[in-house]
Subunit: 335 residues, 2 copies
């Protein structure tokens, strides 16, 4: 349409007959501007379609108006849901979100963090990781705000957002107990690694509360995959006293357990109940549809973004915060 060159604050100022100072202030609202002047300037901005250059603004303010998310696997639907939640909030506040993948294998995380810090990203969300303290400290000392997903508050390591996973698993086991299942097995990913650990805690806690035994032969540790579920189910289903229910640390494991149960001729949930965790898309696509616990990934993302944005317009440091999000039981066909 118009001829050449982006329009800049100077163009707006002269078209409105004011100084660039005033234009800047109607934009930021950081000092009063008379109603008449304001109206005139806003009019010109609108008419010319002026948008401040983010680089110029960033150079002055030392802010990039950008949030970052670091996850081990960008194609994992759980992580994309987190990203979607962050974006929604960020965009509404005129912040952009970049999501970066740093696979668990190898030293990708420090490199990605360095990248984001070099880019002066204002706030960074780090997914559940084997992140070392010094990786995370680099973020904080560089001046970026930090939110960790999972774990607990630690001095100098920013804020935390996490789901109530122990409680979620408790709820699920209680659901099984309520439906008459009494010999309940557990298939985990790897012992001690999150998010399996907290889920295992919930399992044990619920059994103890219900006065049910926690039998060693009913607990198997494999991997967070379908194949892990197949293997694990073979183990626990062949226990001396077999279980009537199998609780799995995530949905993929549960889908694998379903394979094994089907292959061995069990009817699910009549002969054996099987449950998952996370509520990935496949959980409801599989047959029988998986009873599972919804992991509030989207809300985790939006909470993290809100936290970061709050921090970013704090003038003084403020107390560290840990936000715990509720789970939700999704009863379907498999239990």
């Amino acid at each position: 349409m118009s001829g050449g060159g982006r329009i800049k604050i100077n163009d707006v100022a002269s078209a409105a007959g004011v100084s660039v100072t005033t234009v800047s202030h109607v934009l930021s609202g950081r000092r009063p501007v008379s109603a008449a002047t304001r109206a005139r300037v806003e009019d010109v901005i609108e008419r010319l379609g002026y948008q401040a250059d983010p680089s110029a603004r960033g150079l002055r303010t030392q802010r990039t108006h950008t949030l970052g998310l670091v996850v081990p696997d960008i194609t994992n639907p759980f992580n994309t849901a987190i990203a979607a939640g962050m974006q929604e909030i960020a965009l509404a506040h005129d912040y952009l979100t970049v999501v970066c993948e740093a696979p668990m294998d190898g030293p990708h995380l420090p490199a990605v963090i360095r990248q984001l810090v070099a880019r002066r990203i204002d706030g960074i969300v780090v997914g559940r990781y084997g992140a070392t303290r010094s990786d995370l400290e680099r973020i904080v000392t560089s001046g970026s705000k930090l939110v960790r997903l999972g774990g607990h508050l630690e001095p100098g390591l920013g804020d935390v957002v996490r789901a109530a996973e122990t409680e979620g698993m408790c709820d699920l086991v209680n659901h099984l107990v309520g439906r008459g299942y009494g010999r309940i097995a557990f298939i985990g990913g790897a012992p001690g690694v999150e998010p399996g650990q907290e889920r295992f805690l919930g399992y044990r806690q619920a059994l103890e509360t219900a006065g049910l035994p926690v039998a060693d032969e009913l607990v198997a540790w494999t991997g967070f995959t379908r194949e892990g579920g197949r293997l694990g189910a073979r183990t626990v289903l062949n226990a001396r006293t077999p279980p009537d229910a199998v609780v799995c640390a995530n949905d993929l494991i549960a889908i694998g357990a379903l394979d094994t149960a089907r292959a061995a001729g069990y009817r699910v949930p009549d002969d054996v109940a099987i449950t998952g965790y996370d509520d990935i898309e496949a959980a409801s696509l599989v047959s029988p549809a998986l009873t599972t616990v919804l992991n509030p990934a989207r809300e985790i993302g939006s909470s993290a973004a809100r936290l970061l944005l709050d921090r970013l317009d704090e003038t003084s440091p403020g107390t560290a915060r840990e936000i715990v999000l509720a789970h939700r039981l999704m009863p379907r066909e498999s239990a």
Copy 2:
């Protein structure tokens, strides 16, 4: 560790005993620097951990070193695979990638494009959309490079990257014919809307080539969902002369068709074969595992990023390019 303040090009220059001009040039390689000086400067950069401020650099160069991807649904695994492919390439060239969601319903796309353009994003990839010509033109006229995913080259609308979908569907139908299926139905999303349209073309083309009839009663249009697949399958399976194979426009439809077939007592693939398209994760998790065609989403993303990066260091405009990516048949249990 060290006390206060990020280190800047000036610090490097004085520590190395050279001018900032020289530091800048060893960084960019845009003019020769003596080996000795270069070594000294690189040493200081390394030791001080200097990283140029992207805002300052961007203000001078009018480049943000950022690529954008716009998709209708950020949680769709097909789109995240595209994003992952872009990122991989972008990061290797020191570019960041931002992926933005602009849902199909409502006028989200123009707003998101405006955002990205205002941000001076260097190159933008727009997913398959009902994008109007003027939305896309805004990108090009603002000076950003544009790649569209799907469709064909059009003057003033940047480059195109797409998968060979017609060919992919042909291949799939040929696979069925080769296995002895001869009465092949089609369930599509909505007539005329992509990506269903090209896939339908491939279906028809393959049948014609094989000398097989294209019967109206064997084609159903519903929606790109599992429920759509259930409905569509009910229709085609009740045809006067029922099909022995059902080709679906995507995996979700196929999973719905599987539901209907199972409920009606058909054995898959013995009584009826069922196929999907895309190869989403659930395609191999479902039982029987879905025979489908892999949509090379990751490669689409990396090709688009490469194209953008090429454009970005072109000095003169250059001819528009259309890149077509091969499909891959994934034969599994359902056909």
